[in-house]
């Protein structure tokens, strides 16, 4: 549908749409280095309304998001680094965060809408991803003396809200929905799931994603593919909208409503 906005506002919104694509992509490259500080210090809103959600639940407010997504994440990296130095001396002194793993969530199939008021934008994405690490503390189940590298295949969907603050586009809400998790490349995620359903006692759970920080809205908010449930529409695509509000958001506003004022 052709826009009813003024030419100026249409140009503003076209630019906004591209800028939030860039913010989203910048997230991918920062997250690939486990540079949580780079993400949350620069490309996130510090609003009490910001939120980050995953299957395990939703962190609300910048402080809780910072605690879970930066503090706890960095802690995992540091703990990993301490163990790594004993096994892989060449890792000593290097930034422990990217050494933890490269968690790469690519951005495809984007549906992006910018609010008519130009103050927010919303996007849904399908994210085929690879999570890999070379020097690790993991060992080969067939030979516990051998350390191994890994590559997991993780396909997710994202629902993301962005706001324009002080002339910059920032993340406000992120909702991550893991769908497919398997190992590269000798497993079959659907057949494995079926076997788990039929013989749960004989079939181990798929590899876990990192961490489960404190949350305000407890999970599960989404569950990975299983042959005994409908595919969930946890992050429906955004529709054209006027302004960010409780009808147009990936996180209902229940705290301070800075962006509703």
């Amino acid at each position: 549908m052709k826009s009813k906005l003024s030419l100026h506002d249409r140009i503003r919104n076209a630019n906004a749409s591209q800028q939030v694509e860039n913010v989203k992509a910048r997230h991918t490259y920062l997250h690939g280095r486990a540079d949580a500080t780079g993400e949350w210090a620069v490309i996130w809103s510090r609003s009490d309304d910001c939120s980050w959600a995953h299957a395990f639940g939703r962190m609300r407010g910048f402080d809780q998001v910072w605690k879970g997504s930066v503090g706890d994440y960095d802690k995992m990296a540091m703990q990993n680094a301490i163990e790594m130095q004993e096994i892989w001396p060449e890792t000593t002194g290097k930034d422990p965060r990217p050494l933890m793993e490269a968690s790469v969530h690519t951005l495809l199939t984007d549906v992006i809408e910018v609010a008519e008021d130009g103050m927010s934008a919303r996007g849904s994405f399908i994210t085929p991803g690879v999570i890999h690490s070379c020097l690790t503390t993991d060992t080969d189940p067939d030979d516990p003396t051998r350390h191994v590298k890994y590559c997991n295949v993780l396909w997710e969907r994202y629902g993301s809200d962005f706001v324009c603050e002080d002339g910059q586009w920032k993340y406000l809400h992120e909702h991550v929905c893991p769908d497919i998790l398997t190992k590269m490349d000798m497993l079959n995620w659907a057949a494995e799931d079926y076997q788990r359903q039929v013989h749960p006692e004989e079939n181990p759970a798929p590899p876990a994603t990192l961490g489960a920080p404190p949350v305000t809205d407890p999970g599960p908010l989404h569950h990975p593919y299983t042959c005994t449930s409908q595919p969930q529409n946890t992050v429906p695509w955004p529709e054209p909208y006027e302004t960010l509000d409780n009808d147009n958001t990936y996180t209902p506003f229940i705290g301070k409503t800075k962006h509703l004022e």
Partner: protein, 268 residues
């Protein structure tokens, strides 16, 4: 002040200028996307003609990089990317013909049994404030499959970053520098964790295929994941300088590299 992702950019654009830049952003991405189909179609010569810089001054330091260095200058790029590639494909064809003598070893059959997909996504694009150049970073979950010579083929997953410098020429945005930084390879249907841990530059198929580049430099050591941050995500910039290039002139080994892979074992 515009609403820019990532960093504050105080430059103001008129509506007309801003829309020009929006249009540029789509055109730049489109060049990278078109290259995906040129690669799949083995249209490498045509790719160099259609999508790469044509200005002789720019061609001189155009570059094509991977984990182990760069080919520099269009002549050198062509020798590697087109001529050497055809020689490699001819060897692939000979192997395929070994298994199936009905396959004639001719130019027409050059790509029998091979398939290359390098789809890119996750574009992060920064256009210079002066609008003359642009930098972009993408990710590709790609694959390359070549005949084994026994009726089967070796199918390799090859995910990695793809970085571009673009220049605006009279007929549109053109590729100036490319870096394809492979993160790993894994044969389809095999357990990646069973591979040897360290990057083996003697046996890594991506390194072998890349041959002997003009500038030899390990720019992306996969042993340390993305620690080396290369190719780095582009940042907003006003005008071009070699320091930000994805060509060899822009590569800087991390100052505090510390120990390299496999070092530091003698403390006992």
């Amino acid at each position: 002040m515009q609403c820019k992702g990532g960093e504050i950019v105080s430059k103001e654009y008129t509506d007309e200028e801003l829309m020009g830049r929006v249009n540029d952003m789509e055109e730049i991405k489109k060049v990278a996307y078109k290259r995906v189909y040129y690669i799949a179609n083995e249209d490498r010569e045509k790719e160099l003609e259609d999508l790469w810089v044509s200005d002789p001054a720019l061609q001189k330091n155009a570059s094509y990089g991977k984990n182990t260095g760069y080919y520099v200058g269009m002549d050198s790029i062509r020798k590697y990317y087109v001529d050497h590639h055809k020689e490699v494909r001819m060897e692939d064809l000979k192997r395929a013909a070994q298994a199936d003598p009905s396959i004639a070893v001719t130019e027409d059959n050059l790509y029998v049994g091979t398939i290359v997909n390098r789809p890119v996504s996750t574009g992060l694009v920064e256009i210079a404030g002066d609008g003359k150049t642009a930098k972009a970073l993408f990710y590709s979950i790609g694959q390359e499959t070549v005949p084994n010579g026994d009726g089967t083929a070796k199918a390799l997953w090859e995910p990695g970053k793809v970085a571009y410098d673009f220049v605006r020429e009279a007929d549109g945005w053109k590729i100036w520098h490319v870096v394809e930084a492979n993160d790993l390879y894994c044969e389809a249907g095999t357990d990646y964790s069973k591979q040897e841990v360290y990057h083996n530059y003697e046996t890594n198929p991506v390194d072998i295929e890349f041959g002997e580049p003009d500038v030899k430099e390990i720019t992306h050591n996969t042993d340390f994941n993305w620690w080396d941050n290369y190719p780095f995500p582009p940042k907003p910039y006003e005008t071009w300088s070699d320091e930000i290039s994805y060509g060899p002139e822009g590569y800087v080994r991390p100052a505090e590299y510390g120990l390299d892979s496999k070092e530091g074992r003698n403390w006992k």
